[in-house]
Amino acid sequence: MIEVQHLTKRFGNSVAVDEVSFVVQPGRVTGFLGPNGAGKSTTMRMILGLDTPSSGSVLVNGSSYRELNDPLRSVGALLDAKAIVGGRSAANHLMWLADSNGIDRRRVGEVLDMVGLGDVAGQRVGTFSLGMSQRLGIAAALLGDPDTLIFDEPINGLDPDGILWIRNLMKSLAAEGRTVFLSSHLMSEMAQTADHLLVIAQGRIIADAGTEEFITQNATASVHVRAVQQTELADALTQRGGVVERSPDGGLLVTGLDCLAIGGVACAHDITLFELQASRASLEQAFFELTRDATDYRAGELTGAPQGA
């Protein structure tokens, strides 16, 4: 479990993380979603005791990270997979980590096999592709069999197989009762992986909700419909309280009414439908709705906010 209270980080005059409070619960995958520079990485670094908060506090499994003995046994983290001295072999890189926390060296081989790097255990990590480095970083996070796992943008550089593998891994780790905290700016990925979402923009948490709930609350579901008597249908639907727009392909985009209601209206007016398709509200839509005013990088307006990625 990760408990963050009134966490603030200032760099000079700019505020990277602004009075952030949240709890990351065990047993589910919590996604940390936000645009670049929103404060995700800074928050994660503060959780891990790497950056000192300007104010506020963070507790990991009930204690401050810097107070943990053998921290790799309770928290595993992947921040930047390429941040590694290239001259060591993958196995040796994991071995110093194991030695520093009193972890049995046999565990090194186990986690390398688990992430599919068993065959390149003796290869210099400097020669690894980004995807292989990500796998090594995940192996390092799993090394101490920790209760809490923190991953910053773990799917960067992975091929589709790797992404599927990570998604299943995150879910199985959470199913085992662990706390899984995962940041990403890839919303479609989060929609498929995270059970719970923390949305951050400009250093503030702007949503803390279940993924389904977040989508339902923040994005409107719409129905795409085409009819022979298009204009009549549009009028009838508007009368029933729907909001109707023309879609580029000549159909109608209806919000506020579901397929059942639209079908009913069409039947009552003897209108022939030849297409009726509900489009599920996406996380993208919800995210853009929510962050429209909070994003640093709107077209035509560049601000000098620090890169937090």
Partner: protein
């Protein structure tokens, strides 16, 4: 994942933590191939230079009576340790700066959040690694040098008073330079900057130090290393004991500054 047991980590004793930090840092140091390449290079260059210089310059024919009087066959065969100390010192610098420049320092500090203890473990590990190599350089240099000097009957025996101390102090001086290197690495964080600073402190002190009055010059780190490996007392050099104490003070000051700094900066 093999198990799902959520055990409460027992509060480890500080001694256990220190041991694990030392073990982790030692594994880091020995698993980097460049560590061994640097050690081999330092040994080869130090012994090679000693042999070449001793062969080329230090012959009875080229020295006048006064020079012969002041000739210290021990320090003349041990000066290679200064070369070894400089190269191994830059290795010590890299144990810190390579982690900062790649960002791996963040893995180190998440695995071992006690930053002062990490830096202390690094300094201890590198100093312990450097010591036997420098001692080997000293012993080989001494044997080789005395063999060369024997041709001119200028050799000293290992049993001669002050000789074992000079050999030992050469290795101690190299270890202290390694500690200075770790400290500079943590303060400067860039390999080139920290390694250049270290080289200037040692070699530059010997050359640019000529501009300083002798009374000050003898306290320069490079001059102090020279003094540590002498047997004869010579003007402008500290006694070996004082020289080692001065080097120890430099190492303590640099490391203390680094320890203060490392805990307060974001990684």
């Amino acid at each position: 994942m093999s198990t799902t047991t959520h055990t409460t980590t027992l509060r480890a004793r500080p001694a256990t933590t220190i041991n694990r930090h030392l073990k982790g840092e030692w594994t880091k140091l020995r698993t980097l191939p460049s560590t061994w390449r640097t050690a081999a290079l330092a040994g080869a260059l130090a012994i090679g230079f000693t042999a070449a210089v001793d062969l080329a310059q230090l012959t009875r024919a080229s020295m006048n009576a006064q020079q012969l009087q002041g000739f210290d066959a021990t320090s003349a065969s041990l000066f290679g340790v200064i070369i070894a100390a400089t190269l191994l010192g830059s290795l010590a610098v890299r144990t810190v700066t390579a982690e900062y420049s790649t960002g791996m320092i963040r893995s180190t500090f998440t695995a071992m959040p006690g930053r002062r203890m990490v830096l202390g473990a690094k300094a201890a590990t590198v100093a312990a690694f450097v010591f036997p190599i420098a001692l080997l350089v000293d012993i080989a240099g001494f044997a080789l040098g005395q063999h060369i000097f024997a041709g001119d009957h200028l050799q000293v025996a290992l049993s001669h008073p002050g000789v074992p101390r000079a050999i030992l102090f050469g290795a101690v001086a190299a270890s202290l330079v390694a500690i200075i290197g770790v400290g500079l690495g943590a303060l400067i964080r860039h390999t080139a900057g920290a390694a250049t600073t270290l080289t200037l402190i040692i070699v530059g002190g010997v050359t640019l130090g000529q501009l300083l009055p002798a009374g000050l010059r003898q306290y320069l780190p490079g001059t102090a290393i020279q003094a540590a490996i002498t047997v004869h007392r010579s003007t402008g050099l500290l006694t070996p004991n004082t020289a080692i104490a001065v080097l120890g003070a430099y190492a303590a000051i640099v490391l203390a500054a680094a320890l203060i700094r490392v805990a307060h900066r974001d990684a």
